[in-house]
């Protein structure tokens, strides 16, 4: 108990120190700012005297000389109001709040003062940032459909979404997160469709974030997820503006952070992680079949090597008669029991994947080929693994790549290891027990407070139209009910079914 008490005291002290930070005087601030080499204060004294201060690294000097100075150097100026009147710019703020000045100057505003030690100043916005060009999506590539992906600038990203939803109900709420990074985080939703409770949950959770720096939206993903110990991602992470736009129109909420080329969308369900956005670009029959294939691939990826271990260790009765000779012959030379064989091979595949991911893309390819072909063949010839298992593990790895959401495919990679251990201890029964554990975990899981395996449990028959299979657009007349949209209907079903073609 003493141990716990001590900890509490320490925490209190820490929070106290945070709150006392509040008092700062103007000269102190200027001293702090000037300590940086890239902060410059220029005295302008042509017709009237005033001081311009800014960070050279945040403000484009061209802007200062072309768009700012010419308007105010030619005219006699008495006070800051005069300057504000003559500048053809918007977003200027006149303030004597030291904290406001500190925040704005560090975010790329230009400070204009009449006197050097005057605490009142005019803040002129002039942030210039270096932006990456909008490029094609890489992790969620699709052959047909839009080829735009988000970039690191929040404003550009919002532009990409807003131009797809040109309606006044499209609402962006902005919050700053992170004590040091002060990252702009936008909560995006369509007013009148999205459930207010979902929006409020998202806003509340984001404002509650206590952390010093938030670099990427994946930080937020982990910080606001309902269960942060779960290996399953609880918000979808996407780089496609078209996907975000379509998800918003379903009544979901999107979260974007400045500096992150990914949007988070939620509340989400597990089936959404296995639906690629390309599914909507294909005919519904094809899309449905591909979705089912993907689901089977996931099951195969998770269960194939555990089942191999279970069957070979405990249930030789299950092996079909024709496969028996092949299996025994391939296993005969191997010195390891099936579990070791499987773990060694699974780990080496993971090793290859990690190595490939950490290396530059060109070297990564070589690693893939060297690992896949050379090591695989050599391992079989050296008698370290059986070729049957090599095929199973390679196929399982391949199958795990079919998952369209990267975070989910990582989860699937990891998921087979507990299955392997259970298979080794209790055979197929162990696999079943592990499966029960996972299913019960999924049942308990929520995404922004909404059930995670929603269309399946609780059963929402209407939502099943776009879950394991995707039915044609003409029957997708309702928004997913598990999201609880305010406006439930996507379209007028009757009008959608009318045909206006002239038939003779």
């Amino acid at each position: 108990m003493i141990f716990f008490k001590k900890k509490k005291k320490k925490q209190q002290q820490e929070s106290n120190s945070n709150s006392t930070k509040g008092t700062l005087t103007f000269p102190e601030l200027m001293k702090k700012l000037k300590a940086s080499a890239d902060f410059s204060t220029v005295k302008q004294s042509s017709l009237s005297t005033f001081y311009i201060s800014y960070y050279k690294t945040l403000v484009n000097p061209e802007f200062v000389h072309r768009d700012l100075l010419p308007y105010i150097t030619e005219i006699p100026l008495k006070n800051l109001d005069d300057i504000q009147k003559h500048l053809p710019l918007d977003g200027m703020v006149k303030t004597d709040d030291v904290h406001d000045i500190a925040n704005k100057v560090t975010a790329g505003f230009i400070l204009i003062q009449m006197n050097k030690d005057d605490p009142e100043g005019l803040l002129v916005p002039s942030l210039s940032t270096e932006n990456r060009q909008i490029s094609i999506p890489e992790t969620e590539f699709s052959v047909v459909g839009p080829k735009e992906a988000f970039v690191e600038s929040l404003d550009t990203n919002l532009n990409l979404i807003r131009k797809r939803l040109p309606i006044p109900e499209f609402t962006v709420k902005e919050v700053r997160v992170g004590k040091l990074s002060k990252t702009r985080v936008a909560i995006i939703y369509i007013d009148g469709i999205a459930d207010e409770e979902n929006v409020n949950t998202a806003i509340q959770r984001i404002t509650d974030i206590e952390y010093d720096h938030v670099v990427d939206s994946s930080y937020i993903n982990q910080m606001i997820s309902d269960n942060e110990n779960s290996p399953f991602p609880q918000l979808i992470d996407t780089e496609r503006p078209d996907r975000v736009a379509s998800v918003l129109s379903e009544g979901k909420v999107a979260i974007m952070a400045d500096g992150s080329p990914h949007a988070l969308t939620g509340p989400t369900t597990i089936v959404e992680f296995f639906s690629a956005f390309e599914d909507y670009f294909l005919n519904w029959t094809l899309a449905s079949v591909f979705r089912l294939i993907r689901l089977m691939a996931v099951m195969f990826s998770v269960l194939s090597s555990p089942l191999y271990v279970a069957v070979l260790t405990f249930h030789y009765e299950m092996i079909p008669e024709n496969l028996l000779a092949t299996l025994v012959a391939s296993r005969n030379d191997i010195p390891f029991p099936p579990i070791l064989e499987a773990i060694v091979l699974e780990l080496s595949i993971e090793l290859l994947r990690e190595a490939g991911a950490r290396l530059p893309s060109k070297v990564g390819q070589t690693i893939g080929i060297v690992g896949g072909i050379v090591i695989g063949t050599a391992a079989v010839q050296a008698g370290l693994t059986s070729n049957v298992l090599l095929i199973i593990v390679a196929l399982a790895a391949l199958a795990s790549f079919t998952t369209p959401v990267y975070q989910m495919s990582n989860t699937i990679r990891l998921l087979r290891f507990p299955f392997l251990l259970f298979a080794q201890f209790l055979g197929v029964l162990g696999v079943a027990i592990c499966f029960a554990f996972i299913v019960s975990h999924l049942l308990k899981l929520t995404s922004l407070g909404r059930p995670y395996i929603a269309p399946l449990y609780p059963l929402r028959v209407n939502d099943l139209k776009d879950a394991l299979i995707r039915l044609p657009f003409s029957v997708q007349n309702r928004r997913p009910s598990s999201v609880r949209p305010q406006d439930k209907a996507k379209m007028n079903k009757k009008r959608a079914k009318e045909k206006h073609d002239i038939e003779d």
């Binding site: 070979l312 260790t313 030789y316 009765e317 092996i319 025994v328 005969n332 029991p337 099936p338 201890f425």
Partner: protein
């Protein structure tokens, strides 16, 4: 909460002894066929055939037979174990063979040990062999890699066509069930071939009679609907044709079961003439004649088979059970007494749908 979790984790460590024992595939000796031979009144010779896979991709497995003679089959397995480098596992057993002398004495005790083994499936084939099962299992057959594979495929395809279906499940069902008796395929080793020679008729677990292969087809017609099989019919002098069964159906009609029962069995065979040398089958008027000839021949033969069953007091068709299922207050004792003398009438109806194209 933490304490609770710690206790759970700690108990898991204590439970490590409770894991099921491992039977890693390549560390066990899988018995794929067993044969039982009669030795003396109490002693049975158990022959277990194992297929030992060879190193390399395309090398077929070698079969070996382990033999021991004891009073109980489990003890025999223990004795055979003494010669084997790996422990025997019986879970992949494909077929159990019984010597004909043994079958005449009764095989239930031997089937019972198989029945009680939870690792065995219910689709295990059983067969009765004329002569020694040991020599049958020891022979290398050019037709297949191992004798067990040969036997498995042999029975598989013959049970689709000419002999009644029968595995350990059917055997036990018919053994335990009242008003029916089991049947098993009858095999014989001929040189480097194994041949299905017919069907063994069993009363309880004892073989009391045999049917030839041609008659087995007719027996199958009486027992179950099926879609294959061939039967040869004599048409006129020196003229024969074979009829291939496309679809057969059997119906039973019982009359006055409680006092003086009589049974009518209607068999509908839809078939095609698959071979008819010297007969101009393309003539439509002839088809009717062929149908009548086939019906006549099959009627005569099936009625003979039924008489034979009645004489041996075996109810291979399961008529007693069928009668029970249709009669309220059915008396098995009375039926069993009356069975040999019940008038059983088989009427075969043949319909020839095709006569032109043959395979």
């Amino acid at each position: 909460m933490v304490k609770k979790h710690l206790i759970i984790v700690f108990t898991l460590f204590l439970l490590t002894g409770c894991f099921p024992s491992k039977k890693i595939l390549e560390d066990v000796q899988l018995v794929s066929a067993v044969g039982y031979d009669y030795k003396s009144n109490n002693q049975v010779e158990l022959n277990g055939m194992v297929a030992i896979p060879q190193r390399g991709e395309d090398v077929p497995p070698i079969s070996q037979v382990f033999t021991a003679t004891t009073n109980t089959s489990k003890m025999a397995r223990a004795l055979e174990q003494a010669e084997s480098p790996k422990p025997f596992e019986i879970g992949r057993l494909e077929i159990a063979l019984y010597n004909d002398r043994l079958a005449e004495k009764g095989i239930y005790d031997l089937v019972d040990t198989l029945q009680r083994d939870p690792s065995l499936g219910r689709d295990l084939y059983m067969a009765i062999v004329y002569g020694s099962t040991k020599t049958l299992l020891k022979q290398q057959y050019p037709l297949s890699e191992t004798p067990s594979k040969y036997l498995l495929h042999l029975l598989d395809q013959n049970m689709n066509a000419n002999i009644p279906k029968s595995n350990i499940h059917d055997f036990l069902y018919r053994y335990y069930g009242k008003g029916m008796d089991p049947n098993l395929p009858l095999l014989e080793k001929q040189g480097d071939r194994i041949r299905v020679v017919g069907t063994a008729l069993l009363k309880d677990d004892k073989m009391v009679g045999q049917l030839k292969l041609e008659d087995s087809f007719l027996l199958k017609l009486l027992i179950e609907p099926f879609e294959k099989g061939i039967y040869e019919v004599k048409f006129k002098k020196d003229q024969f044709f074979t009829i291939q069964n496309l679809k057969s159906k059997v119906e039973y009609e019982f009359k006055d079961v409680k006092r003086s029962p009589s049974v009518d069995i209607f068999v509908n065979v839809r078939g095609r003439v698959s071979e008819a040398p010297k007969i101009p089958v393309s003539d439509p008027s002839l088809v009717e004649q062929l149908e009548r000839a086939a019906e006549k021949a099959m009627n005569k033969r099936t009625n003979m088979i039924v008489k034979k069953l009645q004489k041996a007091k075996v109810d291979t068709i399961g008529l007693g059970d069928l009668a029970r299922s249709r009669t309220r207050g059915f008396d098995f004792k009375q039926w069993d007494d009356q069975y040999p003398d019940i008038p059983i009438n088989v009427k075969v109806n043949v319909e020839i749908t095709q006569a032109g194209i043959t395979e």
